[in-house]
Every structure is written in C-alpha cells, then in structure tokens.
C-alpha cells in the first residue's frame, strides 16, 4: 500500500518554527507506524527524530499525535489508518526536536503526588498480606507506562500550566487504593489543591487516549469521591 505521511518537523538549530514535511512510502498493512518512521529514518532522512525503544507498547517512549489522536506509534498498525497520515508531537509540552518533546513537566507532576508506597517498615517475616479483592481495587492503575498520552490529550492541560494532569492522578490512585499504603492523606491534599482533580472536566479524552486501556476518567472520579467522602 502507498501512504503519504505529513510529519511535523522542527530542528531548533535550523528552524525558526515547526513545519510539515511530506513522505511517500510503501508499507505493509501489518506494519506498525513505528516501522514506517524507521523506514523513513533509515532509508531516506536520518535526521527524522522520535523516541522509541520496546516497539510493542510497553515502554511508553513513542506517544505522538497521529491523525489528531494520541497514539503509540508502535501499537498502531497501518491497516487501521487512511492513506494520508499526519504525525505531530504531543501537545502542551515544549518541542525539543521533531516528535521529541520535553518531558520534564510531565515527570515533575508525576513526582508531586509522591508516587511510591508510604508505609511503616514491615516488621513481620515474609510478605504483607493483601487479598485478591483488595488488589483488584488498584489493579487497573498499575498498568500505567508514563507515556503521557492521556495528559497531553486533556484540553485542561493545554490551557493551564499547573494542572497535574491525568497521568499523575492515575499514579496517585494506584497508591491511594492500595490497602498497604498509608500516604493517602498526603496525596489527597495535593490533589485537592488548585492544581488537583477539581480541574478535571470529565471530558474522557484521557481514557480514549490511554494505550493500556486504563479507565482514566473512572480513576479520577474515584479520587474525587475519596476526597468528598473521605473513603480511604
């Protein structure tokens, strides 16, 4: 199949502002978008720049906007795309080069929710006990790969600089609902503040964008409910 890719390019050493470049490629229906980007980079234009590593949707490196939606380039096959494809960097973050964005803001927001187990030293021998049902409470939010697809799909993060964003809330949820954790109140304080969950307008873009199928909006709602009813 023949495809035309319009890719947004920006090299800070040469360009004043980003511009689109067009590439015509022949690709197999089963190729990943990442395979096609590699094909362009390796055969045609070595300067095309994007992040990638695992190539099968588990490392979170290659989230980008493909035909207006945030996708992992390695998890989207050509057969699921029309013959004209537009690829842009994630919205809302500074572009470093081509499809590579500055992730500092993203990781800072993540760190602000104290994304680690807060608990007393376990005194007994062996593991802490946790029932399968207790584990089920936060199973969904453990799947996050920190790719930023959800956060950069959220219109609130495009317009406001200080909203922690869906990914940070997902990671807070992962601990708030973990029966072993004792840090819920600290995290809820952060999420109850001006930059926290109340900025969420329940637009569902985040849930649509998540390549791991995490029910992001639901997790945010559960955190909101925890704040309202102090459920944890």
């Amino acid at each position: 199949m023949e495809y035309t890719l319009r890719i947004k390019r920006y090299n800070p050493e040469k360009d004043v502002k980003p511009h689109f470049e067009e590439y015509k490629v022949t690709a197999d229906a089963k190729d990943r978008v990442l395979d096609v980007l590699n094909q362009i980079k390796w055969d045609e234009d070595g300067s095309l720049t994007y992040r990638r590593s695992c190539a099968h949707g588990i490392c979170g490196s290659d989230a980008m906007r493909i035909n207006g939606r945030n996708r992992l380039a390695c998890k989207l096959l050509m057969k699921d795309l029309p013959s004209k494809i537009t690829i842009e960097p994630l919205l809302g973050f500074k572009v470093v080069k081509d499809l590579v964005v500055d992730m500092n803001k993203f990781f800072d927001a993540y760190k602000s929710v104290q994304p680690y187990l807060i608990a007393d030293e376990h005194s007994g021998a062996g593991e802490r006990r946790q029932s399968p049902a207790q584990r089920e409470q936060f199973e969904d939010t453990t799947k996050c790969i920190l790719c930023a697809a959800c956060t950069t799909a959220c219109p609130v993060t495009w317009t406001s600089d200080d909203f922690v964003g869906p990914a940070a809330i997902v990671n807070a949820h992962r601990f708030i609902f973990d029966s072993r954790d004792q840090g819920a109140s600290q995290r809820l304080r952060v999420l109850n503040s001006g930059s926290g969950v109340w900025r969420c307008r329940t637009i569902f873009n985040c849930t649509d964008a998540c390549p791991r199928g995490i029910e992001v909006t639901r997790a945010i709602e559960e955190v909101k409910r925890a704040l309202l009813y102090e459920q944890v």
């Binding site: 090299n11 980079k41 588990i58 593991e127 453990t142």
Partner: protein, 579 residues
C-alpha cells in the same frame, strides 16, 4: 563540556542498576546514568515472573531452585553463585513486596506462584509453582516499583545521557564515564571512585528478537574495547515463542498456564522430545525442537513457524493471567488466541554471557578472578555466572535484584576506603573522536549506510549464529562481520546536528552491536561441543573433558584472544540433561 564528581556512577537504570543505586541512596553520592528514562528500560518488558522458593502454594526449597538453575544451565553455572541466587531470591522478592510491588495473591493474601519452564520439585520430579508474578506484567511492576523508590530516595538521575566511554586511570583503576546529553549534545565527564555497568543485553545483533531497539550491548562493548574480557558470549538464548517474524515475546507463562506447541499435523511435539516436562522443558531445548520440526517440514503450511495453542484454556484464565500476551497476538498478528493457534518462532532473547563478575558484582579480568579495581556490573550485561549455558525463565529478574543489590552493597562498603584515582589526560578524547568521525565522514555510498550495515549483520547472525551453528556457518559470519566492521569505519550519519541526534546514537549503538557479534562468534568457533543454547551441528554432544569451562574473549591490539576459566562446582556433579 561539563564535569561532575560522584562517589559512584551507575550506568543503566533497569532493574539491576536501580536496585544497586537504591542500596547506596542517602549514604553515598551516586549518579544514575541512562539513555532512556528509567521506566522505559527493557526490564519493563519482562512478563512471566520472578522465581523464589517461597513455598506459598506448594512445598519448595531454595536448594531445588539452585539445582534447577545448575541443570538448566547445562552445568556451566558457577554453583556458589547459583546458591546465592536461589537463597537470596526469597528475601529479594519480599523486599520488592515491601517496596510496594503489587504481586498477584493467593486467596489467603500471600504472593501467588505459578509454573515456569525447568523449575521442578525435588530435583527434577515434576513442575513446581515457583514463579511470583503480577499478571503478565511482572517486569513492568518491577521497573515501576524500583523507579518509585528512586524518586523517594531522590537519586541523581542523568536521564537521556548516552554512555560514550568508560574511563581508567593510568594504573588501571576504573574512575568514571563519559556521556553525551541527548537534549543538548553536550559531553559530560563523570569522575567517580567506582562504576557499575548495568546496560542490559544485545538482542539487536539478530534480526528476530524480543529485545528493545535500545538493546544494543553498549556497556558490554565499550568496556570490552577497554581490554576487559567478556565471558561465555557464545551462549545466547533463543526464546521458543516469539511472534512470527516480529520476534515480540509471548511469555513462557503461556505454556506455564497450559499452552501447548503444535506442528502442522496438530501434534503436541514437545512430548516426543521431552516426555516428563514436555512444553515446559528449558528454552534452549524447546527452541531446538521447533527448529527440528521446521527442518523436517512440519512447520505450519511448511513454513518456518509453529503454533502456540491456548484454545483449550478457559477464556477467563486467559483474560486474568495472560492479558498482555494475548493482546500482542491480537494487535500485531490479528490472531484470536482463544480460538486459533498463534504463529511463533524462536526469537533472540537473552545474553547469558557478558562482563564476568564475582558474586559481589566486581568485574574480573582473568581465570583467577582478579577484580578490575573500581569496576562492577550486574544484570544482563554481567555474567556471574548463574545462567551458565542456558537461563531458566524468571531467573533473570532474580539475577537483577539479587546481584544488583549485592553489587550496590559491596560498592557502598568499599567506598569507605576507596581513593580517588586521577582521570586520564583528555578523558573525553575517545568519545569526542568517535562523534567527530561519524559527523564529518563524507556521505555514505550504498552499502556503507548505518542501516545497511546493521541489517546485513542481523541477517547473517540470524542465519548462521542462532539456534544451530557449525564451523562453516560461523566462519561465514566471522568474515561478514569483519567486512562490516571495515565498512563501519567509513560510515557516516545524515543528521549533523547536536540536539537529540538519534542518527548519531544509532550509529554508535551499531558499533557496539558489531563488537558483541564479533565476540559471540569467536567464542562459538572455539567451543567445539554442544551445550545449552550453543548447539554445534558438527559437534553435537557435550564435552566435559575439554569444555566444562567458561570462555573469556579479550580484544587486544593483536586481535582476539581466548582463555578458559574453570567452572565452580560445589554440590551437583555434571550429568546428562534429561527432562
């Protein structure tokens, strides 16, 4: 150029590097350098589990685990190290749980365990449930949990810094590293009292692999160029069940939960080769069974793949325990595992070899195990050796946490009396020269492009140095790699810019892959026997008389040199491996 000084620098933020760094957090000044953001490390790809003889669901003992590890490794395992691995695995898994790792649980709230290839009860009687797991995302949970601990402990992360060189003082003490910061292209010299290499594996040497695109053996190759030997490189594991053509891994957990391999006649052929463990025999064997079926014309439709059959498993079990594995089959091959066989073929998966270390993670330089002052390694880049000629499933994650932790603790203790060794003059020289060459070489002609060199290497290694090799195939591969190394010295990159130049880093990585390939072939040619993952069609049996020994390959100005290092045997005398 930027200059930094730290007590210790850890290169690689996968499971091994982070585990080591966490031991030192708050007690020493440690830098953690990684070319990827830490949670993007390939540890996150591990699916099936991490073994420890907890005995949560049935009787188990660490000595059984040790025995399985030794036997699985075809007796090339150093048994003192295997004892450490199996014994400390138990504590390491509890430590991960205490850090917050969300393991699957038994009804009474303990860590649940499942079966995995080669893990048995009572010295080989039958399969045992030893693998602790978190769905089929165990590695994801490990890397997330350790990164979380890194944040909690405020480690000094140098994210997206590409290792360029490892530095030694004039008297041979390792004293730091040189990195390139991706976002600016700036060179950094990090002066340190000790260095840990934890840069993972090099599956990208082969065309069909389960490894990340970043799995290019950088730390191993760069250290090897500095004269440090690599050990047992001829032992590279091909995992039996890679998605056809793509190489993406379908975890052994699929067979642990009851999946069966079938040939074109629908026959469950593993039972014919390994009557006791059948589909759960060790990986080297199953990969060879598949290879033999394909060679005998029993691949599906006569092609070079077989089917992984899950159709007889309860759909709920598939959803609950194998969600990611089945998702891969659906996404990438458009196959529904609940109703049809999944096309699979062996895929380049794991480096048993690497930088030789002792059980404290110190890199050693000769057959007498003399440490290289200041240099450590852990994880897939290291060869302790606990995996010998063939690693058992789940034992790599154990290796990362057990030996990552031991290395970190040993470094911390050694820091007390470690001295600063002076940096060599112009420490950035080698790094800068390699960048300058790639940026300034004239435009490559056909055949000298980085991507062409890489794909030729991958194809020849797949054809001639994979599940089966012979003197003829190895000599052919050796010659090709030599030519490609020649072409590489003239190759150039298209992108000449400083900021985030991945054209440049891919070229640097290719240089590392070529060195890993070279050492692999050298070891494979020398070893005239078949053992574990190293199967020679011209020497089909194991030869304990001549080859119950590790191989060390040195890169010297006069060419490659090979030495043998004795295997440590404590309790289990080598026997024929039968399953």
């Amino acid at each position: 150029m930027a200059y930094h000084r730290f007590d210790a620098v850890i290169v690689g933020a996968g499971g091994a590097g982070l585990m080591a760094a966490i031991q030192m957090a708050g007690k020493a000044n440690v830098a953690v350098v990684s070319k990827l953001y830490p949670p993007r490390s390939h540890t996150g790809a591990a699916q099936g589990g991490i073994s420890a003889a907890l005995g949560n669901v049935e009787e188990d003992h660490w000595r059984w685990h040790m025995f399985d590890t030794v036997k699985g490794g075809d007796y090339l395992v150093d048994q003192d190290a295997a004892a450490v691995l199996a014994r400390e695995a138990i504590d390491a898994v509890y430590e991960l749980e205490h850090m917050g790792l969300p393991f699957n649980r038994t009804p009474d709230g303990r860590i649940d365990q499942r079966r995995f290839g080669g893990h048995t009860r009572n010295y080989g009687e039958g399969p045992v449930r030893r693998a602790c797991y978190a769905a089929d995302r165990t590695g994801h949970m490990i890397i997330q949990t350790l990164y979380q601990q890194g944040i909690k402990n405020q480690l000094n992360f140098f994210d997206e810094h590409h290792l360029m060189d490892v530095l030694f003082s004039e008297d041979g003490q390792c004293c730091g590293v040189v990195t390139m910061e991706m976002s600016t292209g700036e060179i950094h010299v990090i002066h340190a009292k000790m260095v840990l290499i934890a840069t993972g594996g090099y599956g990208r040497v082969w065309s069909v692999t389960s490894n990340a695109i970043a799995g290019t053996g950088d730390g191993v190759a760069i250290t090897y160029r500095r004269g440090v030997p690599v050990m047992d490189m001829e032992f590279y594991q091909f995992h039996p069940t890679g998605l056809y053509r793509l190489g993406i891994l379908l975890s052994e957990a699929a067979r642990g939960e009851g999946g069966i391999l079938r040939n074109k006649d629908g026959e469950a052929f593993c039972a014919r080769y390994a009557p006791t463990l059948k589909d759960l025999a060790p990986r080297d064997m199953i990969s060879r069974f598949i290879h033999q079926e394909i060679m005998a014309g029993r691949g599906i439709n006569g092609e070079d793949y077989v089917h992984l059959d899950l159709t007889h498993l309860p759909p709920e079990l598939i959803d609950e325990k194998l969600p990611d594995v089945t998702d891969f089959a659906r996404t990438y091959l458009d196959v529904e595992p609940k109703t049809e066989g999944v096309p699979v073929q062996p895929t380049a998966h794991y480096a048993m070899g690497g930088l030789p270390t002792n059980i404290d993670g110190q890199v050693i330089q000769d057959r007498d195990a003399t440490p290289v002052p200041g240099l450590y390694s852990a994880g897939e880049s290291a060869c302790v050796s606990v995996h010998g000629a063939n690693r058992l499933g789940t034992n790599s994650l154990v290796d990362l946490v057990v030996f990552g932790r031991r290395a970190g603790k040993h470094m911390l203790a050694s820091l007390e009396h470690a001295e600063w060794a002076p940096l060599p003059p112009e420490p950035e020289y080698v790094a800068q020269a390699s960048i300058d060459r790639l940026l300034s070489a004239p435009k490559s002609g056909k055949g000298e492009r980085i991507s062409d060199i890489r794909s030729t290497m991958q194809k020849v290694m797949m054809a001639d140095v994979s599940v089966e090799r012979s003197e003829t195939s190895l000599l052919r591969a050796e010659e090709t790699i030599r030519q490609l190394q020649g072409a590489y010295t003239y190759a150039s990159v298209m992108d000449k810019s400083k900021v985030f130049n991945t054209d440049l880093t891919e070229a640097l990585e290719l240089g590392c892959l070529l060195d890993c390939a070279e050492a692999t072939i050298h070891g494979a040619l020398a070893r005239q026997e078949s053992r574990g993952a190293h199967y020679r069609s011209d020497f089909t049996t194991r030869d304990d008389k001549n080859w119950l020994a590790h191989s060390l390959v040195y890169k010297t100005s006069g060419g490659l040199e090979l030495a043998k290092k004795p295997v440590t045997i404590t309790e289990f005398e080598p026997k024929e491996r039968k399953y």
